[in-house]
């Protein structure tokens, strides 16, 4: 495999990118599929059904078993420090979940498992479930129907397996980018890059007879710059690029990132954000770029439409939801403006949460969460979908899981996980610039990160770069501002959204440091009225 030449890589123009992809052997997804089925067949099937049969024998009315073989490769580098060195993680895990009299039991182990281990896990899962009823009271659990998949296989369709790319190529890539950021722009104090490559082999089996093997890839890259202190206010700025995030794709995602198009602007925006005029506190029309809208969506409607959360099943861990009466609100509650259509999926191309089947063996379906501003569905698993049966039956829909079961490793209990989310483009072909042009007075917010409280209700956003808008044009940079919002009011006050050509996708994570759980949020720019802008550091 020939080495990428660093000089060739950082040449501008598409020719360099095309050349960069040529040297690699392209690995078709079919070849990967064969690898997946060979490595998961035989022994894994025996282990899986040993656990399943043991759980059935112990009295489970339903049981499923999952295996994971996870490989991670992590590169961190800051320009001017020592040479990038990879860090690796490889891990095996197995877990059995059993249902007995409406209670879930779970048993899981890290590391390699034998047949005896799997039998013990199956029995232990049922034993855990049998302990559970409160004062003799049993839960009623119905699992939404799922077709049996007797021999399912799927693999993330990657063009270039990142784990067969040589270390030389990865080092060359990291150094090329950080050298460019560091040397081409004199203001840059330091630049850093991180590469996170994940390959997950999932195996699932259930008492219903399903057996599924999948290979899932996540490729993620972080780029950081810190710009030197501004001479006027001695303020330094650091930012992380959002034109390259995380994706359910291979090495091609990194190579095809719009680095040449966006790197200069990224550094310029970072430099500009160091110095600006102070914010005039008040309520304004705000034009958010696609990244800011993705972040707002991920902080608000994303978690708020997790049905188990809305029903209070995460009240002690993560929080609850402002959509607190799901069955009453469905089909009636106005979440946002009629311009707003939001959906969830685990099928979009290059989606970081895209799978063939979820952790319950469900083939995910696209779910329209918000339709023309009205709440129309929630993110569901097999159990939580059954809670929606009255609504689905009245609406003529099938009671079916949305395919949102997932967790970081097989040895911890199954839960719901974030799917890919989409804020659909508007019917007009409005651009970010069009939305600005239609604003007499307000602010443009670019690259901001939003967060919200434990009900996903009240939130704020900061970082990024904020420009004043006057008479439809961008004006001065504003420094040190935060926007505050209450989720229903923000979404209802959207008066304009971007068209098809403005949609951008970003890989995000709600987990902690080096979390393995990524999902993609696709969003468009939007204009919102009546948003409070405050000084970030201003106290009461």
């Amino acid at each position: 495999m020939s080495r990428i030449n660093r000089r060739r890589f950082i040449q501008k123009g598409t020719a360099a990118l095309a050349l960069a992809t040529v040297p690699f052997e392209s690995t078709r997804s079919e070849e990967l599929l064969e690898t997946a089925t060979r490595s998961n067949a035989g022994d894994t099937r025996t282990l899986a059904f040993a656990a399943v049969e043991a759980a059935k024998g112990a009295g489970a009315t339903y049981a499923d078993v999952s295996f994971r073989s996870t490989k991670r490769e992590i590169w961190h580098w800051w320009a001017g420090t020592s040479y990038p060195v990879p860090r690796g993680v490889f891990a095996l895990s197995a877990g059995v979940r059993a249902l007995h009299n409406g209670c879930w039991g779970f048993a899981g182990i890290d590391g390699i498992a034998t047949v005896d281990d799997m039998v013990r896990l199956g029995q232990d899962a049922v034993a855990q479930a049998k302990n559970s009823p409160v004062a003799g009271k049993y839960r009623s659990v119905e699992l939404a129907f799922v077709p049996v998949v007797s021999d399912g296989t799927w693999s993330t369709p990657v063009t270039i397996d990142p784990f067969i790319v040589s270390n030389d190529e990865k080092i060359d890539f990291i150094c090329a980018i950080t050298d460019y950021l560091g040397r081409e722009r004199v203001q840059v104090d330091f630049a850093g890059a991180g590469l996170y490559l994940i390959k997950d082999e999932h195996t699932f089996a259930s008492t219903e007879g399903s057996y599924i093997a999948q290979n899932l890839y996540t490729t993620s890259c972080d780029l950081y710059v810190t710009v030197e202190k501004h001479f006027l206010n001695e303020s330094r700025a650091s930012r992380k690029a959002n034109f390259i995030t995380a994706s359910g794709a291979g090495w091609e995602y990194v190579l095809n990132a719009p680095f040449q198009d966006k790197a200069s602007q990224f550094v310029e925006d970072t430099a500009r954000s160091r110095y600006g005029k102070p914010i005039n506190v008040g309520r304004y029309d705000i034009v958010f770029d696609a990244y800011s809208m993705a972040s707002i969506l991920d902080a608000t409607i994303g978690p708020a439409t997790e049905l188990d959360r809305a029903f209070g099943y995460k009240a002690n861990e993560e929080g609850t939801s402002f959509l607190s009466e799901p069955l009453e609100m469905l089909g009636a509650y106005r979440v946002g403006s009629p311009l707003i259509n939001i959906s969830a999926n685990r099928s979009m191309k290059d989606g970081a949460a895209t799978v063939g089947w979820d952790d319950e063996g469900v083939e995910p379906r696209d779910t329209a969460l918000v339709t023309q501003g009205i709440l129309t569905d929630f993110q569901t698993t097999r159990e939580s979908a059954s809670w929606m049966a009255p609504y689905y039956n009245n609406s003529g829909k099938t009671v079916r899981s949305g395919g949102c079961a997932g967790r970081e490793k097989a040895s911890i209990p199954t839960s719901s996980c974030a799917p890919n989310l989409v804020l659909s483009p508007g019917k007009d072909n409005a651009t970010f610039q069009d939305l600005i042009a239609g604003t007499k007075r307000g602010y443009a917010v670019i690259g901001s990160q939003a967060s919200a409280d434990t009900q996903a209700l009240n939130g704020s956003g900061r970082f990024g770069i904020v420009y004043e808008i006057r008479n439809g044009k961008l004006g001065d940079v504003v420094q040190g501002s935060t926007f505050l919002f209450r989720a229903p009011e923000l979404w209802r006050n959207i008066v304009g959204i971007g068209g098809n050509n403005t949609a951008e996708s970003f890989g995000l994570s709600r987990g902690g440091y080096w979390s393995e759980m990524y999902h993609t949020v696709s969003a468009v720019p939007a204009k919102v009225t009546g948003i409070a802008m405050v000084d970030t550091m201003r106290k009461a």
């Binding site: 860090r87 690796g88 993680v89 490889f90 409160v134 209070g312 099943y313 009240a315 002690n316 409280d453």
Partner: protein, 467 residues
């Protein structure tokens, strides 16, 4: 036995694994291993119903190889022979990429240095069965359920063997038990929420009835809150809220120490502990109220922790802040050798005790007494989503949660809606009016103790009406 390893890994089993690893290495050099094997029994409930009961075994094995100054490492959870071999080979493959080799010999001057021996193991905790655990959970659910309220919670019992070993002869092993119990009670209207929790190694120190009743009481007293104006308030932060506000000083994110708490960083002019004099930190300067002390001691009877770092270096008792004066900042061994003429580091375990000393006439009072002494203020249960807005001042923003009450003329008069706050712990802890009794707070896996503190002029910046 699973793969030769019982649920709980013993010291001899750790040594056996290291011997295997040493027999697999190629090329000589130095090998460092850290290993944790933890068995957990978890019971979770929600809406006053048991939701899931689980047994899990978590394994984390880290191997570092250094040959001729080049370093490569790997993390895995496989302890079988094939897995260990793959891990060693991966680490040795990774070190080939370390192209800027520093020809140093790895020295561990602390190999022979003894570690402290805090008691972090409880047989009672270890021997708790799954049935007994679910009995305890049932007892925590029933008070709320009988009142028509929703109880949600988690009871997790763990037993862990943790070890650090290297080819210089270092062997550190510690057995730990761990109890994490938290309860949230909410009313069915969604207008009231209460929370309480405890974390300790010893089940005997966990009062599950008190946790359940405290969460229930807070829920019942927090229903239908009213809005009060944002502004600066005298607040009584319960110990949990004090910890929630203070933790960003020592940690920048879960699992990550705040590098601004490091001495080299302060002396390079960065962070809140940088002196106005170039090249100096604020060590020996008054930074907090004179009554406050920030310390960390593995032998602390309430806030004890594993007495060695992931490198095997012993943690020593340290007073970071004494009577409000900054006395120490953390530093690595390289800094100690270069700047201080010392051979050992001073490490930040991120476990801590915020203690207080009386100045004579006052004593540490209960939260009830702090309330009685307050003309007008707010009682805060805890804070959430605390994020640092400015690292130079540790200015933070976040939300109050799970119970906020207005105090008027020494009494709680009404529950109020939550606020977003904007405050720095370094500012707030200079505006202290009174200090309460300390207690262990809930920040697993860390051991932390904090007192209730009454603070004036605390900035509640805007309403946040979530419950």
């Amino acid at each position: 036995m699973r793969g030769g390893i019982k649920d709980f890994i013993t010291a001899d089993e750790c040594k056996a694994i290291f011997s295997k690893i040493e027999s697999m290495v190629k090329g000589g050099g130095y090998t460092h291993v850290s290993l944790s094997v933890k068995r957990s029994g978890i019971t979770r409930w929600a809406r006053s119903e048991m939701y899931v009961s689980a047994n899990t075994l978590a394994i984390n094995l880290y191997i570092l190889r250094n040959i001729g100054g080049a370093t490569g490492d790997i993390t895995t959870n496989r302890l079988d022979n094939a897995g260990l071999l793959e891990a060693v080979r991966s680490a040795e493959s990774n070190l080939k990429e370390d192209r800027e080799r520093v020809e140093t010999e790895i020295k561990d001057p602390f190999v022979e240095e003894p570690i402290l021996k805090p008691r972090l193991w409880s047989d009672m905790t270890y021997s708790l069965t799954g049935a007994a655990r679910t009995d305890m959970a049932r007892n925590m659910i029933e008070p709320a359920e009988t009142r028509g309220l929703f109880s949600a919670g988690s009871l997790e019992i763990g037993a862990e063997g943790r070890t650090v070993m290297n080819s210089n002869g270092l062997f550190r092993y510690y057995p730990i038990t761990d109890v994490r119990c938290s309860v949230t009670v909410r009313n069915r209207q969604g207008t009231g929420s209460g929370w309480a929790a405890q974390h300790n190694y010893d089940l005997d120190r966990i009062d599950t009835a008190a946790i359940a009743n405290r969460a229930l009481d807070k829920c019942m007293k927090s229903g239908n809150p009213v809005a009060v104006e944002p502004g600066r308030y005298t607040v009584i932060l319960e110990p949990q809220a004090v910890g929630d506000l203070f933790t960003p000083v020592l940690m920048s994110a879960p699992g990550q120490e705040n590098i601004d708490f490091m001495r080299y960083r302060a002396e390079s002019g960065k962070g809140p502990f940088a002196s106005s004099r170039s090249g100096y930190s604020k060590i020996n300067e008054q930074i907090l109220d004179r009554r406050l002390t920030l310390s960390a001691d593995p032998m602390d009877p309430e806030a004890g922790f594993v007495p060695f770092s992931s490198c095997g270096e012993p943690y020593k008792p340290v007073k970071w802040i004494d009577k409000g004066v900054l006395r120490e900042l953390s530093y690595a061994r390289g800094y100690a050798l270069a700047k201080l003429g010392r051979a050992t580091a001073l490490l930040n375990s991120t476990s801590y005790r915020i203690g207080a000393e009386t100045t004579g006439k006052e004593s540490f009072v209960s939260v009830e007494d702090l309330i009685k002494s307050t003309e007008r203020g707010l009682l805060v249960t805890r804070l959430s989503n605390v994020q640092t807005v400015n690292s130079d001042s540790v200015l933070c923003t976040g939300y109050t949660r799970d119970g906020l009450w207005l105090i008027e003329k020494g009494k709680i008069t009404k529950p109020v809606k939550n606020f977003r706050f904007t405050e720095s712990p370094l500012f707030a802890l200079n505006n202290i009016e009174a200090i309460g009794v300390s207690e262990r707070i809930f920040n697993p896996p860390y051991a932390r103790v904090a007192p209730a503190i009454k603070i004036r002029d605390f900035s509640m910046t805007s309403l946040a009406d979530s419950v």
